[in-house]
Amino acid sequence: MSKIIPIGPYHPLQEEPELFKLYCEGEIVKDIKWETGYNHRGIEKLSESKTFDQVFFLVERVCGICSTSHPFAFANCMEEIGEVEIPDRAKYIRSIIGELERIHSHMLWFGLAGHFIGYNTVFMWVWKYREPVLDLFEMITGNRNSYAMFKIGGVRRDIENNKIGKIKETLDLIRKKTDMLIGAVMDDPVIHARTKGVGILTKDDIINYGAVGPTARASDVAIDVRHDNPYAAYPLVNWKIITAKEGDVFAKVEVRLLEILESVSIIDQCLEGLKKEKEGEIETKVKAIPEGIGTGRAEAPRGEVFHFVKTNGSNYPERHKIRAPSYVNIATFKKSCIGQTISDATISLAAVDPCYCCTERLASVYDKDTGTKVFGGEELIKNSQQKTREIQKTILRNEH
C-alpha cells in the first residue's frame, strides 16, 4: 500500500503554493500527481482590457524573478506585427537587461538548491553575491525588480556611457565570485553524492516532454531561443550555448553556473557595442499597430517564453496567449521523480527551477461529440462561491 507524502500547498521546498502528491512505498516514490490552481490571476484575460503600453507592466508581473523575459517576448511579438525595426542601442540595452536577469535568476536558483539539500551556507553566500546584481538593476532602471524598461519600438531608459565603468566593475566581481562558487561546488564530494545520478532526464525524455531552457540543455539538447530565433543584440555578439551530457541535477547546476559566466561575457560585449552607438537613440516612434497576428519568443532564465497576440487595429490586444517555460518543464517530473527516494525526488522537483504562478491556467471542458461546454469559467466561479458559502455556514455553526 502506498502512502501519500504531500509537498505543498505550504512547504519549505517551494515558495509558491502548489501541491505535489508523492505516492511512496517506504522511501521510494512510486507515482506523482500535482495540483496547481492556487494562484490563478487571469492575466491573459486582463491583458485584453489594457492598452499595449499598459500590457508591458502587466506581463512584467507574470513572474517575479524572470520579470523581463515576458515584456521581452511581448515586445518581440508586437514588433513583428507592426514590422518595427528598433535602434541598435535599444537592442544592446534589452540584451543587457535580459542577461543581468539571467545572472540573478540563476544565482537565486543555485542558492535555493543549496538550501534544499541542507547546505544553507551556499544559500547565504550566493544570495549575498546576487545582491550587487540587484543594485546594478536599481542603478540602471530605478527598480531592483520589475524593471519597466521595455516599450514597443525600444526601451524607456538609456544606459548612459558614464555608467558603463560601474557596470563593468560589478561584472568583474560577479565573474570572480562565480569562479569561486564553481571551484567550491564542482569538487565537493558530498555535493556529488547528493546530485550526481539523481533525477536523470535523457535526451529522448526532453524531446518527448518538450522541455526547454537549462533543463533541456543539461540533457545535451542544445535549444536556446537566443540562438535558434535570434532577437535583440544576440546575433551581434559572440556566445555559445552551454550544454551538459548527463541530464542529472548536477548537470543542471553545472549548466546554470557556466551560463552565468556566459551572460557576463555577453553583457561585456554589449557594453562595448553601447559605446559605439550615439547616446539617446533608444527608440523608434511607433504610431499605431495594424491588424494582425504575431508571435514573440524570448529565452527566459528557465527556458522559452512564448507570447501570441492577435490585434484588431485598435490599441488593445484582442487575444493574448502566454506560455511560460515551467508549463512544459514541470511535466518532466513524471520521469525524473518516479523510482527515486523522497530525498532525491525533492531536489529533482526543484532542479527545473519551477515557477508556478507563471504556469497557472484555467481549462474549459468541451464535450467531444456535441461540442457543448461541459465545464468552464462560470461553473468554476459558481462552485467557488458555493464553497465559500458552505465554509461560512460551518464557521457560523461552530461559533454558536
Binding site: 502512502k3 512547504h11 517506504g26 539539500i117 541542507g118 558530498v190 547528493r194 523522497i342 530525498s343 525533492t346
Partner: protein
C-alpha cells in the same frame, strides 16, 4: 541529602546543564551566522525561544494518534538526556559517587532521546513524521554500533575500566588523544555526535525541505519546548562526554575551568563548521558511511590500542 539534591538539580546537574546548553546553542547559531554573513541572534535568544514555546504558545494535539504517548515522549527525552547529563557531569566535576559502571549506563541513556523522538513521531500519526521516524531508526542502527566500538576502544585504552573517574584519573599524565588511536577515535566520535545531535549532514530525520521537520512536525508549544531543551542538553553533555573520554576530563576548579571551557567550545565549533560546510546526505549514504567507513576506523583504532599505539 541536601547536598545530593543540590548536585542533581542545581550544580552540576539540571539547571547548570540546561543553561550551559542554551548558551552553547546560542554559540552554535552565532558562529553559523558569522559563516553566512549574517548578524546572528542575541545572547538570550535560546532562552526566549524556550520560554515562549513553554509558556506562551498553544500546544496543539494531533486529532488522530495516541495523545498520551505523543505528550509523554518529550518528557521522557528530557529525562533521559538529563540523567545522562548528571551521570556525566557529577564525576567530571570530581564528585565521587562510588558508581563504577557509569559509562555503560551513560551509553544507554544517551540513546533515549533518539528513541523517544521515534515514539513521539509514530504516535502523532502524520505520514511525514512516519518518514522522519523511519529515518531516525535507520540512523540509530547505523551510528550506535560505531559509538559502541569507540567507547569500547576508550575502555580498552583505560585498561578495561568502566568508571568515568578512572578514565579521568588515567588521563592526568596525558590525554588519550595524544596517540594515533586517540586521534582516530576523536574523528569517529565527532561524526557520531553529529548524527546523535541531528545536525547536517545527518539531519535527514528532520530534513526541513523534504519532510518539513519530519519527526517533530506535529509538536508545538510546551511539548516542543521540551524537545528543544533536550537538544540544548545534548549539545552540552555530548562534548563533555568526549572531553572525558579522550581530552583529559572536564574539571571546573581553578585554572582548569579555562581549559574545560576552551575544550567544549572547540568541539562545538568543530561540529558547527562541519554542519555548515556540508549538504545533507541521504539515509542510505549515511548508513554506508557509518557501517563501512566509521566502523572500519573504529576497529583500526582498537587494533592499534592492542599494539600499544
Amino acid at each position: 541529602m541536601g547536598k545530593e539534591l543540590f548536585y542533581y538539580f542545581v550544580y552540576p546537574g539540571f539547571l547548570f546543564i540546561a543553561i550551559t546548553g542554551g548558551i552553547l546553542s546560542w554559540y552554535d547559531r552565532k558562529i553559523t551566522a558569522w559563516l553566512q554573513f549574517r548578524k546572528g541572534p542575541p545572547f538570550l535568544q535560546p532562552f526566549y525561544d524556550f520560554l515562549k514555546l513553554l509558556l506562551v504558545k498553544e500546544t496543539i494535539l494531533p486529532a488522530k494518534g495516541s495523545k498520551m504517548t505523543f505528550l509523554l515522549a518529550p518528557v521522557l527525552s528530557v529525562t533521559g538526556a538529563m540523567l545522562a547529563g548528571i551521570l556525566i557531569m557529577v564525576p567530571a566535576t570530581g564528585i565521587d559517587t562510588g558508581f563504577t559502571g557509569d559509562i555503560i549506563v551513560i551509553f544507554y541513556l544517551l540513546t533515549i532521546p533518539s528513541l523517544t523522538y521515534i515514539i513521539g513521531a509514530l504516535a502523532s500519526g502524520n505520514p511525514l513524521a512516519a518518514v522522519g521516524a523511519s529515518r531516525e531508526m535507520k540512523l540509530i542502527i547505523s551510528y550506535e554500533l560505531t559509538f559502541l566500538l569507540a567507547v569500547a576502544a576508550v575502555i580498552m585504552k583505560a585498561g578495561l575500566s568502566i568508571s568515568m573517574l578512572d578514565i579521568i584519573a588515567l588521563q592526568q599524565d596525558g590525554a588519550f588523544i595524544g596517540s594515533i588511536s586517540g586521534i582516530l577515535l576523536f574523528v569517529v566520535i565527532i561524526l557520531t555526535m553529529q548524527a546523535k545531535l541531528g545536525m547536517v549532514p545527518f539531519d535527514m530525520a528532520e530534513a526541513e525541505t523534504e519532510i518539513t521537520h519530519g519527526s517533530f512536525i506535529e509538536y508545538s508549544g510546551s511539548a516542543y519546548a521540551l524537545i528543544k531543551l533536550t537538544k540544548y542538553i545534548m549539545l552540552f553533555i555530548l562534548p563533555v562526554f568526549l572531553c572525558i573520554l579522550l581530552l583529559g576530563g572536564f574539571r571546573l576548579d581553578g585554572i582548569h575551568i579555562l581549559w574545560s571551557v576552551l575544550k567544549v567550545l572547540g568541539i562545538v565549533l568543530l561540529l558547527t563548521i562541519i554542519r555548515n560546510t556540508n549538504p545533507r546526505v541521504k539515509i542510505a549514504q549515511a548508513m554506508r558511511f557509518f557501517f563501512i567507513w566509521m566502523n572500519l576506523i573504529a576497529i583500526i583504532a582498537i587494533v592499534l590500542i592492542l599494539f600499544g599505539f
